[in-house]
Symmetry: C2
Subunit: 356 residues, 2 copies
């Protein structure tokens, strides 16, 4: 049965990095992977063409796909759009919501070859391997009511941070199950000393815990979690948190590794359908220059093979190829250092392909 | 005219560290500072005694005071209190709200003597001097409606992230004015690509900018700000943001310096009345052991002298005394390292007093 993959290059460096990932996907096809690959527009690119960041034609293709590979969306060109609903980011948020991609897995891994690129002292990040599980279809990024309106003669902006028990339970189970397959420690992050919504969050996590007796559950306030990530990131195994805290903490954690250009992510729904994308953004400042790092996107293909397509052997092949290229001293500009060979986006793609 | 100072030791290590700060305050009195000093209960300590984290008697004294010195509140003993309104944290939040302490100044400074204590590479934090201005009486920590209720047969938790134009303008002006006195660069942090409330935030900051032509205003999304703090904190001068983002980012920034035990903070209202407290928490795990670092609290007294009492010379004396003690190699356990003399809370107080 032929599976369907949709590639959404998006904006900024998106087209360049997904182009390299497509080549790897083609190589997998040559090795027997039975997939059909299509492309579509999303984000600012879709807005420019169709006046919508998530046109119906793209959403239909996304729904029909088994897996989606996304580059990145957004850029200063669209930042001035008055109507928030037209901004590139809404394309991404719309995909997450419409496909029910509630479980966002964001690994923060230090590659041994790149440990010195971290801003942290090497001993604090060597061997780092955290998985942040971020709830992706609820919380304040989607909560109603929201808006800007006039109250008592002045404008007031408001958003609603909201979670239901079933939403919390669903992401909680995903995190517990992931912790079972890893180091068996789960840290749930909230602000239960101040916010009611996270009191409920903590309560549900506590209620689930006895069903996963092999996992050690702990709780941490979000301000402390931000500190602990900076102080001693290796204390964590799996972290689980809501949409907004997850956005902030996963980016901080990714940056800690010194190699955010290397980090893939997966966003899964209940039926195993998934969207895969690099952790980094659309980097408009270097777009079109053939210097962006395609490795996070290439590694997102590996995650796709593992989590949606059930092809762990091919996933491993990609990961090994990336490891080999790093061992050989090849680096894009973002991760380069003295004595390494700085290469372009396309050269990096070539190198991974020949190591594959 | 005798000014009034209220000391609120609070919970955990609060009583030990404020005790040392009181001694410095007494030394200032001996040098001519005309103040009357009182103490009162807040947080868990107040709950245990009066059944309320912010008893009326404490609030009355706080309102009558020119400046408040707070230790810290909270601890596991009260974490299980079902009623959020009774938790120690509500004592602190109630003080902020009732006194209108909307401007929270949180410096993140690397002390040259302690640069090696940072988890970041020394070159990234040497000379670091950021000021984070956090809005403290609005945003999601205070927004209505809030609660946990049953909807469609299941419980739902919700909080409201809300800011009015006038609230944003007030904190914006405080931040612009501070930037004018410092490096003249202000970075406003929001999530304007997703949250309407922060679209309004960004708009108001933009509107204020022309009134402060000597200050360079920039904007950054909160997820990126968390990354940039980790990657290259020295790029910032003053940052301004809402209550929740400020909570998270200021703690991360404080931890970056490696010396969170050294960082004071000020919370000011429109009439210059202020509450001063260390950035760190109540550290219940080491409470009562005479090992906590009193320097952040002692430096909070210096901030009080500078911002509320108009005594910059005495403030400088305290800061110089702390510098001398560090130069002499004295360290409490949290900031100690090889070759240094590890001392107790009380010994550290003694040392600062004799250097004063
Ligand atoms: C682009 C933006 C809407 C998005 C988010 O905040 O979720 C991004 O920052 C991310 O983390 O995937
Ligand atoms: C104790 C808590 C309510 C408080 C806050 O979140 O504001 C603390 O973390 C702080 O940053 O002062």
């Amino acid at each position: 049965m032929t599976r369907k993959i949709l590639i959404l290059p998006g904006d900024g460096i998106g087209p360049e990095i997904t182009a390299q990932a497509s080549r790897i996907l083609a190589a997998c096809q040559a090795h027997g992977l039975d997939v059909e690959v299509e492309e579509a527009l999303v984000g600012g690119a879709a807005y420019d063409e169709h006046g919508e960041p998530l046109p119906a034609v793209t959403l239909d293709k996304a729904k029909a796909a088994d897996a989606i590979l996304l580059g990145a969306v957004g850029g200063p060109k669209w930042d001035k759009l008055e109507d928030l609903a037209k901004r590139p980011e809404k394309g991404l948020l719309g995909l997450r919501k419409n496909l029910g991609l509630f479980a966002n897995l964001r690994p923060a891994i230090t590659y041994p070859q790149l440990a010195s690129a971290s801003s942290l002292k090497p001993e604090l990040v060597a061997g780092l391997d955290i998985m942040i599980v971020r709830e992706l279809t609820g919380g304040i990024y989607f909560g109603q009511p929201r808006g800007i309106e006039v109250r008592d003669g002045q404008r007031v902006g408001f958003n609603t941070y909201v979670y239901s028990e079933s939403e919390i339970e669903r992401i909680g189970r995903a995190a517990f199950e992931l912790a079972q397959k890893r180091g068996k420690r789960l840290c749930s992050v909230d602000k239960a000393n101040v916010l009611e919504v996270t009191i409920l969050w903590r309560e549900v996590m506590e209620r689930l815990a006895p069903e996963y007796p092999d996992v050690e559950l702990s709780h941490m306030y979000v301000d402390n979690a931000a500190m602990q990530l900076v102080r001693a990131p290796k204390q964590f195994d799996v972290m689980v948190t809501g949409n907004m805290f997850g956005d902030i903490l996963s980016d901080a954690a990714a940056m800690l590794t010194g190699s955010i250009g290397m980090l893939p992510s997966a966003s899964l729904n209940e039926s195993g359908q998934g969207m895969y994308e690099p952790c980094h953004g659309s980097a408009p400042d270097i777009a079109g220059q053939n210097v962006a790092n395609p490795l996070a996107t290439i590694l997102s293909v590996a995650m796709m093979l593992r989590y949606t397509l059930g092809e762990p052997a091919l996933a491993q092949r990609i990961e090994d190829a990336v490891g080999k290229v790093l061992d050989d001293g090849l680096r894009t500009a973002d991760i380069s250092s003295e004595g390494m060979r700085t290469v372009s986006t396309r050269d990096m793609g070539d190198a991974v392909l020949s190591a594959f």
